[in-house]
């Protein structure tokens, strides 16, 4: 007598491969769902904590903004100061006359006592000065001192005249 009795037709027997696949799919579904529940729970936890933190930080932000509004006068002042300082720096950088004036004063100190320039012109680019000398020695001395002095990068002797009074007149352009 046979031990396994299968009354169903052979074609209705369950394919083990198919059954295994179905079981695997079911397990995979459960694993995916459980993983989602874990990660989802963690994310919701983070969201909850993050929202709480966000609320606190937002409150702090509002308070800080209120504080800044109470310091608005100081802020306006600082902006005004920065604006003025920036523009004043531009003006100061454009002012070069003081330096030129100091050089001319330095030059005048080297003239013989009591002598003053006949004409003097100082502008942004150069200085022009006319001087009278009673003797050729005083003229030569002055020119030597001027050349030795390194105040000017360029010295042009525009004119050198000898007039009927016996004086030497020179016109210098100093750059």
């Amino acid at each position: 007598m046979p031990q396994n009795i299968n009354l169903l037709p052979q074609s209705r027997t369950l394919n083990t491969q198919v059954a295994l696949t179905a079981t695997r799919l079911t397990r995979l579904t459960i694993v995916v769902f459980i993983s989602f529940l874990i990660f989802g729970g963690l994310s919701i936890g983070f969201l909850f904590l993050g929202t709480n933190d966000l609320q606190k930080v937002q409150e702090q932000n509002d308070n800080l903004k209120l504080n800044i509004k109470s310091l608005q006068e100081a802020e306006q002042n600082l902006i005004l100061v920065r604006d003025r300082v920036g523009k004043i720096k531009t003006i100061i950088s454009e002012r070069s006359f003081e330096d030129k004036l100091a050089k001319i004063q330095n030059l005048m100190k080297r003239l013989p006592v009591g002598q003053e320039p006949k004409t003097l012109e100082i502008d942004i680019t150069r200085s022009r000065v006319s001087l009278n000398f009673e003797t050729s020695e005083s003229l030569a001395n002055f020119l030597r001192v001027l050349i030795e002095n390194d105040d000017y990068g360029q010295i042009e002797l525009n004119t050198l005249q000898f007039d009927i009074n016996g004086e030497y007149e020179v016109e210098l352009v100093l750059v």
């Binding site: 037709p9 074609s11 209705r12 369950l14 198919v18 696949t21 179905a22 079981t23 799919l25 079911t26 995979l28 579904t29 995916v32 769902f33 989602f36 989802g40 994310s43 919701i44 969201l47 993050g50 929202t51 933190d53 966000l54 930080v57 702090q60 932000n61 800080l64 903004k65 800044i68 310091l71 006068e73 100081a74 802020e75 002042n77 600082l78 005004l80 100061v81 920065r82 604006d83 003025r84 300082v85 523009k87 004043i88 720096k89 531009t90 003006i91 100061i92 002012r95 006359f97 003081e98 004036l101 001319i104 005048m108 320039p117 004409t119 003097l120 012109e121 100082i122 502008d123 942004i124």
Partner: protein, 241 residues
Amino acid sequence: MRKQFPSLKFPSGTTSTMEDLKIVSLPLFALLGVLLFVGIMASTLFNKVNEVRDRLQKITIDNNTLKQKIEILQQKNEESFTSDNKLTWALPEKSSSVYVISQIKKKAADNLIIISEITISEPRIQGELSQSTVTTKIEGKLDSIFAFLESLYEVTPLIKVNNIQTEEEDMAGSDLVRMSVELTSYYSPYPINIPALSQPLNSLSAQEEEVVRDISNLESPIIPQKLDPQTPIERVDPFSL
């Protein structure tokens, strides 16, 4: 030979595959459904988490900037505004020619210089800085003129000497020198916009502080005191004697 009941007779091949498919399709659809659900939910959660994290990060940075700004402003608030006033004198909002003339006259008097003529040109706007040219004719000893010109660099509003020129015909036979001096004075409107609250604010740099210190040492023009009208007084009746 066994006889099979006719109704239990299955067609072979295709029926078996259909049954297999039916068995597999249920967990497969369940898996697909779960994946779809998980995908949508995970994406939503991920977006939310990212959004919260980004906002938290942004507001934290914003708070740090605001804290730094408050610190700078509190420090500024404690400082005296005297130097700031000096700065506005150095570069006023509106034409500074009146103050420039006042300063020129004061410095001329201090250095024994005679002013014979003062001319003010129309202001010209050059970028953010507006300029006015003042031409003045002065007379005095050469040393005094030099001292006068130097002193113009010690006053506010800021003045730039453009050029000086002697007037040749007047120089002979006298120790007095006549000169024409061309000066530029400046003014500039105040800034009208304040940066956004969350925009960082830096305190003044060392170089800027130095400029403020230099300017605060300059001499401001003397502004006459406000003269309020006299309060009405009772007049004595001259005929009441």
